[in-house]
Subunit: 222 residues, 2 copies
Amino acid sequence: MISQTEENYLKALYSLTYLKGDANVNEISKRLDIKMPTVNSMMKKLADKGFVHYESYKPLRLTEEGKKEAALIIRKHRLTEMYLFQKMGFAWDEVHQIAEQVEHIHSPEFFSKMDELLGYPTVDPHGSPIPDQNGVMPLENYVFLNTCKAGDMVTLMAVQPSSKELLQYLTAKNLELGTTLTIKSIEPFDESLTVAYKDRPIEVLSSKVTSTLLVRVITGLA
Amino acid sequence: MISQTEENYLKALYSLTYLKGDANVNEISKRLDIKMPTVNSMMKKLADKGFVHYESYKPLRLTEEGKKEAALIIRKHRLTEMYLFQKMGFAWDEVHQIAEQVEHIHSPEFFSKMDELLGYPTVDPHGSPIPDQNGVMPLENYVFLNTCKAGDMVTLMAVQPSSKELLQYLTAKNLELGTTLTIKSIEPFDESLTVAYKDRPIEVLSSKVTSTLLVRVITGLA
DNA sequence: TTATTTTGTTAGTTTAATCTAACTTGTTAG
DNA sequence: CTAACAAGTTAGATTAAACTAACAAAATAA
Ligand SMILES: [Mn+2]
Ligand SMILES: [Mn+2]
Ligand SMILES: [Mn+2]
Ligand SMILES: [Mn+2]
């Protein structure tokens, strides 16, 4: 059996390694706000259980088994977020805290019922993909808004990472998933973007914001 | 902060003391399948925290604070059961296992949302009353079916205790909450009841069953 | 009423998950 | 290249929640 604590370490390691492929003790320590020696011994334990590749002083990686286990927890998290959002009427900035707890419930029936009632969703309320029942994470081929060019027309697909504060900022700006934006110009000094969307002809987005917004490019300058 | 483990002890003590007023270490030990010395030290800890009246070798009682705390956990349990039953389509014998886990989630918003979506229910799918937000348990003035007389007409209001096996038995017998039964006769030897309900003119219910069925008496013999 | 059984308590051990302090290894800046 | 700093590890302590073994008190049966 895998404990709630171990699940949280696996999830942290999964998200830290998602792009880079590996992570280190210090990163997990900061992410979970747990001291390094504690993380170190937990990594050894998870290695014993076959979830983590651990070698002294080397970067950490999840085994295939560990990746699957982590993805299945993330699946429960994101299904829960979607359920809270779509079926219970919570706002997109309220669902994460509750899902952090619900994700640890052991009941395949509970989560497959959610899945069914939601019509087998593929993304959570923040646009993040929901892994399938086998722990396979769907690929997303979006780009961050701060990598786009002036003149591009893009659709907002996901927010990552999605802090409560950021989500509230976006809500206040009337920016939501599916919103199409046109990039009017890019300020070279601070990389802020002037954009237009919906009934708002001029809005300025800082790079702190644009580096979290994943978009699909619809049209660029020829 | 109160741990999940402590919550389970409080809940056990609440239900064991509900009728008699007190309980003892051995009963909790059996109920939770935890050895007596462990229960003993947990009772001392809960006494330190102000939830339990503990004196060596004397029966255990909850303090008012302890009662309230326990009732609020039971509230979360029963709201969850009702939500799973009414909004997610689970059967009445499937909801308890999931609720055992969900009841420990710390999120007032989550449970008040359930409450609201359910229209502020007063009973769970097994007819057990749902305590209010202040931890006040509504009184139920039902009687057990095995205390009724031949000729009585009664309505099934609750099942207590409601094991999965019992609930499945009742479902198979087409007996559900709200069903009205007429007591045809009582067998003195084993206290089994011959009853009629719905389209079933003759069904025999053993005392093992009738001692768990709470009913409201509609009419008795004059 | 005494003996036996049941229940309750104490003492000490174990495991999981955390910590601090101290030391080692690896990385970076001068 | 070495000194300093950052990151990783080891050792040992702490707390929560469980256990077993042994003993004490209370309840029950003979
Ligand atoms: Mn989330
Ligand atoms: Mn979590
Ligand atoms: Mn999310
Ligand atoms: Mn229940």
